[in-house]
């Protein structure tokens, strides 16, 4: 093998192998510290009880903590995950539906919900509630 060809082979092989190796060790370092179960599985489990109550199709509203900005990335992610958990029921990011899923991180009292026109149907723990919007009956 000529030095020119050897140089070319080593150039491609070394850069590729070092890239693969660096990523492998980064992931190997992170993997033992990864949460178990993972975040999506954990989030999914919070909705198991609610999902069992829902019909096989329809639209349900969704609301989260008051004052959450509409473009908040975490809130968006949790809404998408709520849809992932509750499919095939459609989850609309709006409280203007008769039945509404509440996904709260801050304490919310039944009274404050009633003041906003929502009746608590059932609480599932971990901040997940099913509400009825009394204005949309």
């Amino acid at each position: 093998m000529s030095p020119r060809v050897l140089g070319a082979v080593l150039c491609v092989a070394a850069v590729s192998l070092l890239s693969v190796g660096r990523f492998f060790f980064q992931v190997a370092d992170f993997y033992p510290k990864a949460p178990s179960p993972d975040g999506v599985t954990d989030f999914d489990r919070r909705f198991v009880g609610l999902r069992a109550m829902l019909p096989p199709k329809g639209i349900i509203g969704y609301m989260t903590d008051p004052g959450t900005p509409p473009n908040d990335t975490n809130a968006q992610a949790e809404y998408h995950l709520a849809q992932y958990a509750l499919a095939p029921v459609l989850v609309a990011y709006s409280p203007d539906h008769r039945f509404v899923v509440g996904n709260f991180h801050q304490a919310v009292t039944t009274g404050s919900l009633r003041d906003r026109g929502f009746r608590l149907i059932r609480e599932f723990g971990n901040g997940i509630v099913l509400l009825e919007n009394e204005k949309v009956r």
Binding site: M1, R4, V5, G7, A8, V9, C11, V12, A13, V15, S16, L17, L18, S19, V20, G21, R22, F23, F24, V27, A28, F30, Y31, A34, D38, V40, T41, D44, P56, K57, I59, A77, H80, L81, Q83, Y84, A87, P88, V89, L90, V91, A92
Partner: protein
């Protein structure tokens, strides 16, 4: 258990379909590794089409779709066996020396990539954001729904209900076979596509250019670590990259090894069609590969063969586009990129020079940082080609992959320029993944035109009657 069994049946279906169209003698044949490498992606593609036609369109019970896949695998297997009895042996692979240390380097790279995939999949079995907000979400809808209107509702427009259904369809099919939604099944499908994405270029290069360029090419493909990361994220970008590289590799093989016949070109067309059934960008690839097929001609004498094989290529594409068309016109809402704004607004964007400038520099920047490769791939391959130089005889067929890549990137560039979305946001969130679509094919194209490393010699084609 049922899901894993159907997973294996789908791979068998892919292998049987390829062997039925591209027959070889019953015993293990020299091009069988290439057939087997493409089998997972082709099998998943066929399975996804069966599922869509029987479950979504005809609303049959899932068991009917599963039974149809099993019957198709058995039927195609029997047909492949019949054709094998009178088939011409495959053209032997190009022989060539390869130092043992190069095998070791390739083996180490492949093993690390494999374990990286396993760890990433173990840490996030449902995949990353686009997986649970688009692809696996759609699979859940298909698996859980009693009807097929909700999955495409505008209420969840953010989940892009117009995106094609190959990947969600095959995952839902496997879930039905197992009776449960198993995240590991989605991970296994992702790994099948990743395997095809690397193994198809590897065996194509081995058959056409010898083992040294094959091992180095596959290692270079794995060198872009975003391939493994995005694959483990369960996005549809790696399945799309797999179909793109399979289509072009089979087409190049059919053009360089003339004895294989037009049915290999048909398989290339099917794969391009599956690309369109995987992501909307695949529709652009169908155009890119047809144009590349017609344009990448080194001599005027190649033109008649290109025209003669064009019908097979287009027939393969149209066979799958029938499913895409039914979905797009009967079930899916309009795409957000084409549904927003009028022709006048699009024209205004197309004549805004600043958008070209921003898009151009985004492409340049991404090309320099692509794939988390330690050294920009553009520099690595410039050095590579400077040292090994081009082949003494570069055929039009060997230029086809790079022509297809160029056309695909030109299409992406035009879409960015005219996108109704915020341009910076669109570039930042999608450009790395869009370049990943053509990465395996780009590497294959570069290695196809590279000079021989260790004096690889093509084997003589066998002189035997053509198969019936």
């Amino acid at each position: 258990m049922g899901a894993w069994l159907l997973f294996l049946i789908l791979i068998a279906l892919g292998f049987a379909a390829i062997r039925a169209l591209w027959p070889a003698p019953p015993r293990w044949s020299s091009a069988d590794p290439l057939r087997l490498a493409a089998a997972p992606a082709i099998g998943f593609g066929l399975g996804g089409c069966f599922y869509f036609a029987l479950r979504v369109v005809l609303q049959q019970p899932p068991a009917v779709a599963i039974a149809a896949v099993c019957l198709a695998a058995a039927g195609l297997g029997w047909f492949a066996w019949r054709r094998a009895q009178s088939a011409v042996p495959d053209v032997p692979a190009v022989s060539g020396q390869i130092p043992f240390w190069l095998w070791l380097l390739f083996g180490a790279g492949a093993a690390m990539a494999f374990f990286t995939y396993l760890m990433l999949n173990g840490a996030a079995p449902h995949g990353e954001w686009d997986a649970w907000s688009i692809w696996n979400l759609r699979a859940r809808f298909l698996f859980r729904a009693q009807e097929f209107i909700s999955p495409f509702s505008p209420v969840i427009a953010w989940s892009h209900p117009d995106y094609p259904l190959l990947v969600p369809g095959v995952i839902a099919l496997l879930w039905h076979a197992g009776g449960v939604e198993s995240a590991s099944m989605a991970g296994a499908v992702g790994f099948g596509f990743l395997l095809s994405c690397v193994a198809v270029p590897f065996f194509t290069l081995w058959l056409l250019r010898g083992p040294a360029l094959a091992a180095l090419g596959a290692l270079a493909i794995l060198g872009a670590t975003s391939l493994v990361r995005v694959s483990a994220s369960q996005y549809a970008d790696v399945p799309l990259a797999a179909y793109i590289v399979i289509a072009a590799c089979f087409l190049v093989y059919a053009l360089e090894v003339e004895s294989v016949g037009k049915s290999v070109v048909f398989i290339a067309g099917l794969s391009a069609g599956f690309a369109a059934w995987t992501k909307n960008e695949g529709l652009l690839f169908c155009v890119s590969i047809v144009l590349a097929h017609l344009l990448s001609i080194a001599h005027r004498m190649e033109l008649p063969r290109r025209l003669a094989t064009l019908i097979s290529l287009v027939a393969g594409i149209l066979a799958v586009l029938a499913f895409v068309g039914h979905f797009k016109f009967r079930l899916a809402p309009a795409n957000d990129l084409v549904n927003t704004g009028t022709a006048g607004v699009a024209m205004a964007r197309a004549t805004d020079f600043n958008r070209y400038w921003v898009t151009f520099w985004a492409f340049v920047g991404e090309l320099l940082t692509f794939g988390s490769v330690l050294v920009p791939p553009v520099i690595v391959f410039a050095v590579w080609l400077a040292l090994v130089r081009f082949r003494s005889k570069v055929t039009g067929a060997s230029l086809l992959p790079l022509a297809a890549v160029t056309l695909q990137l030109a299409g992406y560039f035009a879409i960015y320029v005219t996108t109704p979305q915020d341009l910076d946001w669109q570039l930042n969130t999608s450009l790395p993944r869009l370049l990943l679509h053509v990465w395996p094919l780009s590497v294959t194209g570069i290695f196809l035109i590279s000079g021989d490393l260790f004096g690889g010699r093509p084997q003589p084609e066998p002189v035997r009657p053509r198969s019936k």
